[in-house]
Symmetry: C2
Subunit: 346 residues, 2 copies
Amino acid sequence: MSELRWDPLKNNWAIITKGRGRRPQDFLQQRQQIKMAACPFCKGNEDKTPPEIYAHRPNGSKPNQDGWQVRVIPNKFPALRIEGELENRAEGLYDRMNGIGAHEVIIEHPEHNRTMADLSTEELAEVLKAYRVRMLDLRRDSRFRYIFIFKNFGVEAAANVPHSHSQLIAVPLIPPLIATELATSREHFERKERCLLCDLVRQERASKERVVRDDGNFIVYAPYASNFPFELLVAPLEHSHDFTLLTDQQILLLADTLGDTLRRLRSILRDPPYSFILHSAPPMHLRWGRPDYWASLPSDYHWHIEIAPKLINVAGFEWGSGFQMNPTPPEEAADFLRHADPSITY
Amino acid sequence: MSELRWDPLKNNWAIITKGRGRRPQDFLQQRQQIKMAACPFCKGNEDKTPPEIYAHRPNGSKPNQDGWQVRVIPNKFPALRIEGELENRAEGLYDRMNGIGAHEVIIEHPEHNRTMADLSTEELAEVLKAYRVRMLDLRRDSRFRYIFIFKNFGVEAAANVPHSHSQLIAVPLIPPLIATELATSREHFERKERCLLCDLVRQERASKERVVRDDGNFIVYAPYASNFPFELLVAPLEHSHDFTLLTDQQILLLADTLGDTLRRLRSILRDPPYSFILHSAPPMHLRWGRPDYWASLPSDYHWHIEIAPKLINVAGFEWGSGFQMNPTPPEEAADFLRHADPSITY
């Protein structure tokens, strides 16, 4: 029988439709391809992008030239712009503010055909370090309440440049889903003096049925109320509210976990389109002379990465109700992923 | 410049990315087609579906035979089932309940190739009456906290049978988005003794810039913080919390508005995939001897229909943040739709 399941972190229900259980082979898709005349993200085409903001250049090459391993540039068509004032104001019953923010692209590798799953642990660690550098830099701008790092892979997941890249968007508001997670985590801590995600991770480690991998540093599990088939959550076992506090050594361990997880997804779902997004605590700022209401203390949050392959269409019911219908129970998804061979490529 | 916009009904922000403004022609798509050997929804194939729950048979033909104009059947692969107990309980920190509910299909017309936009006002009115009949019937089951009527049109909007149909899903919980709308509406009323959507409609009628049509009975407008390009809201001008209170005469007027609106979308977006969903007040039940917390008084809600063409991919940022990015400002969408010729077909 189908189940409705509630997640205490997201304070949200999902419908796990067990009767129509779907296995990896039911989701295999003919992947769409984008043809591009010349890829602006490839090495040698550095002049086809806006000037770089950051690059990892192991041999000390000059900015905006070949020789980089990871490169961060402003998005050429940004959703939000860095210049200007918010002009936060009402319009009758509505509210509006200007689209102030930042929108950057993290090019993960100079070669066109290497995906994130193809990167070595050391290469992937450099991408994660670029995330850290850019988050720390943008955090200094007190207009930005939140900084998102995310990745869309594949046309179906809205990646319209095939060259492997992640994105950063800084927004002048706490986004709704982050606000919910901050509120549920803070409420749990105030009542119990324990971190909510630490408690959830403890329960997952005890039952094991939704755990994909657990190397003693990072855990990967399929959330109990997964909204999507093969949805995953990656979290540090040791409590930490802030991704940017990761040491270089911890980043290497995270790269090992993340790379292996992406390879497991690639193996059983034949290189599926997917998105992932980093959820970390908001930066601490003063607002009107007081600490920002949303400013997180270490107790208030537990950073994590959420990964969702793009396998099903979100349609009328999901959009209009806020309920997701997920045809693959997370216990089955975790079982497939636990037994996946990460070395199989497509 | 892009704008962030807040909607008081949904208590949610959208990012309207004006700089990348997209017009109807930017969204025209090669529509996917589904081939089916024999369509179970066509007249003459009544024995290929589960027995009908309701049918409009103007000439009094027998159930489960030809001669119907609208036909309601149980979904053959229901997401939720009507038999059983909820068994609502905790699993450690999580909650779960059995997937009790109802899942029905409203076949809108006996002919395979007539879409909802092709129906006459009288034919469409019979579909809306079928909605009313089924809602009133399922409401008597006090396990169901909410009854959704929705429609997905086109493969891209997850309609996997091409024959024109709507769906009904009854759920044992108030869905998250409905809970938000009920809470914002109730709070507004308690503070001001006015209905929130009545206030919003008044503001829209005064400014006119987002209004697509307004015949004195029903208004169609593009919401201020539209999450999707060409998103629309259809509401009765006269306050009413409950769709099922519509008289036959009012249903004819609604059919006129809804049909014309769908034809305008078809005209400017060349028969786009779309979803719509009916938001009406939850049924009134007693729980544990008290009126249900969510049971709506007439003051607490204003029913409406939300329509969204499926033109953009929802990807990592939207999924992980709760913010939607919408490249078409609702003022522009409304302008295109106001000037659309509803008689153009594709």
